[in-house]
């Protein structure tokens, strides 16, 4: 008996469909990944523009450009667009592109659902933008001046723009849940023969944990905003103390989603780092098993410490003590991850291409954000820092390096694989330095502003805060404009450049590097054998 496995005739059948139908009806994981990344890039600029407006307003004390409600609406939109429109879709884009190629699967497990989960996003983004635009029309009501936390009773009182926002949140939730289910099923059922769970690439592990987190927290947020909708329009009093309800309940519902959301944003970037650091240190990842354990620990503890965002609401001493200790405990697995990254670099033959620069930047700056996080976790200290610019500085130091820089590292690391061309390394490094310097000039002074007592989410400030605000605004302009360079680099790389080899980076390991650069339209139609 002889056995043969059918393989493709390489000469044909690999052409991608042509025209708009390719994108609208696509079930190909690479095309959907590209759509996600493109969407995220557009939203990055929309969210970035709102941040620029915020910093222009804060350049000087007094009210210059924006009235207080519009200012707070921009704060709300900036957060929601960046979190739901830019970072999450970008991470989903990386997942779509890379997960099937990394595990040796021909596509995602449920390709049509994959298409649906992407195409819900533009609808959600439209709703989100409408929530910003509607108040400018007659009868549009007041603007969403609540911040992204949309706490009642204020969120019950604002105009119809809140309804658009609630439906946008529902759509975003549906999209996230569908994508998560798809990723879980793909990772658990479609790995190449021989790829046991503990042989799975770290990026896949981080996405598996992220997808579990999303599935657990999204229904709670969906329930919370639906209750808000009922309070607004159907006469219920879920969050109205006068009707027997409890406004604090919404805060619990929101932060049960909101805190794990931080890890949802962070973990995919940790996964990217777990590939970039070993590749450019030319060493295997130090402590693979402990990384997986640490990640699961972060996700598990992160699920049950949500109320550290609510220390000032008047919880019992026992409750705040529990939430404080739980929050501080998270620093142990996070510290273990950082230790593993440093140990991977230790005595490695390191080179500093753009992805590695971002990786080193993340290790330094994310650790800094983590340290200010430990400060905020301590209840008596948090009572002072609460709702100050210190908190703004803290979460930007966590989310920019922890999530966004990780995604940048991933984009630069895999861009040669996606496009078949090497990006311009000089421009990549220039982007890194302008980005990182701009970021630090923007957010580092905000620690001092917060410690000196400047509150956040207020359009005006005392003249004593002027100098640091001027520095911060100048930094924000550098930071914001540096992203145009990213756009230029990406377009330039897509259009041409030095041909990328299959293994674009000397130290890169993994199934994705066995494929051509750019990979064929269909890949791994015959599953590879993992030894």
């Amino acid at each position: 008996m002889s056995t043969t496995t059918l393989t493709h005739d390489e000469a044909h059948h690999h052409e991608a469909p042509k025209g708009w139908r390719r994108w609208l009806f696509s079930t190909n994981h690479k095309d959907i990944g590209t759509l996600y990344l493109l969407f995220a890039l557009i939203m990055l600029f929309v969210g970035g523009a709102s941040a620029m407006l915020i910093r222009m307003e804060l350049f000087q004390p007094g009210i210059q450009l924006l009235d207080p409600d519009l200012y707070n609406n921009l704060v709300t939109n900036h957060a929601l667009i960046m979190i739901f429109g830019a970072v999450m879709p970008a991470a989903a884009g990386l997942a779509n592109w890379m997960i099937p190629m990394m595990i040796g699967a021909p596509d995602m497990a449920l390709p049509r659902m994959n298409n649906l989960s992407f195409w819900i996003l533009p609808a959600a983004a439209t709703m989100l933008l409408l929530s910003f635009v509607v108040p400018f029309f007659p009868g549009g009501g007041t603007q969403i001046n609540t911040g992204w936390t949309i706490y009642p009773p204020l969120s019950v009182q604002v105009g119809m723009s809140m309804d658009f926002l609630i439906f946008a949140i529902h759509l975003l939730g549906i999209s996230s849940v569908l994508a998560s289910i798809n990723i879980i099923v793909t990772l658990l059922n479609m790995r190449a023969p021989g790829m046991k769970m503990l042989k799975m690439p770290m990026f896949c592990w981080t996405w598996l944990v992220t997808a579990f987190l999303l599935i657990l927290v999204v229904p709670v947020l969906a329930g919370g905003v639906t209750m808000l909708l009922f309070d607004r329009h159907f006469g219920t009093s879920f969050f109205d103390a006068a009707g027997g309800g409890d406004p604090v309940l919404f805060q619990h519902l929101f932060w049960f989603f909101g805190h794990p959301e931080v890890y949802i944003l962070l973990l995919p970037s940790i996964g990217v780092l777990s590939h970039v650091i070993p590749a450019f240190s030319r060493k295997p990842l130090f402590g693979y098993n402990s990384m997986v354990g640490a990640m699961i620990a972060v996700a598990t503890i992160g699920m049950v410490v949500w109320a550290h965002h609510q220390y000032t609401i008047g919880m019992s001493l026992g409750a705040v003590t529990y939430f404080m200790i739980g929050t501080i405990l998270i620093s142990i697995p996070v510290g273990l991850m950082i230790f593993n990254f440093i140990a991977t670099m230790w005595r490695g033959a390191m080179t500093f291409e753009t992805p590695m620069l971002f990786a080193v930047g993340i290790v330094l700056m994310f650790t800094f954000g983590g340290l200010s996080g430990v400060m905020l976790a301590v209840v008596p200290a948090d009572m002072q820092y609460h709702d100050s610019m210190f908190v703004v500085a803290h979460f930007h130091y966590v989310l920019m390096p922890g999530a966004v820089f990780g995604l940048f590292a991933g984009v630069f690391y895999w861009l040669p694989k996606w496009t078949g061309h090497m990006y311009d390394e000089k421009l990549g490094k220039l982007f890194f330095w302008t980005n990182v310097i701009g970021f630090n000039i923007t957010f580092f002074p905000q620690h001092f502003l917060g410690l000196a007592g400047m509150p956040r989410r207020i359009v005006d400030y005392n003249v004593m805060f002027t100098e640091f605000n001027v520095i911060s605004s100048v930094g924000a302009m550098i930071f914001g404009l540096s992203h145009l360079l990213l756009l230029y680099i990406v377009i330039k790389t897509i259009r041409g450049g030095k041909k990328a080899e299959s293994r674009a980076w000397e130290g890169a390991k993994g199934l994705e590097w066995e494929l051509d650069s750019p990979p064929a339209f269909h890949t791994w139609t015959v599953a590879p054998q993992i030894k």
Binding site: T3, T4, L6, I184, L216, V220, M227, L249
Partner: protein, 160 residues
Amino acid sequence: MVRSDVHIGSRSTQTVFIVESNRNLSWQQSKWLFLFLAACICIVSFYFASLGAWLVLPFTGLEILVVGGAIYAQSCCAHRKQIIRVDQSLVEVDESRRRHALKSFPKAWSKVVQIHDRRGWYPSQLLIGSHGEFVEIGKNLIDDERELLANQLRCAIEGA
């Protein structure tokens, strides 16, 4: 994934095509995965429902339905296995998912038919059979693989 085995016996030659998906989870494990996810989602939701946020429950129910549906659909697809045997006189299609279903056709009258969707919205269909009775094969393959399988089957049946 398609494997084709050619059995060469003392008197005849039989070509066997095995069409199956690569999969990591058994039915049992898929059930446990669903139960684990559903239990975790329920614990969270019932906790918040007990605090008064009972409107979380419908979303939990919907999510469990979607999770269950997705795992079921994928498992069904992953466990579909078809064995097509072509010998000197017969073409047999043995489909095993949870039950075995065996269909046989006289080789001399057997036809391999590939139907393409006119608008290109749906995957093509590959049918094998004779005398107006056909069975669909290779449903879990991509179009390219299906076309390749069709050519290989035609070769085996027509002896080309």
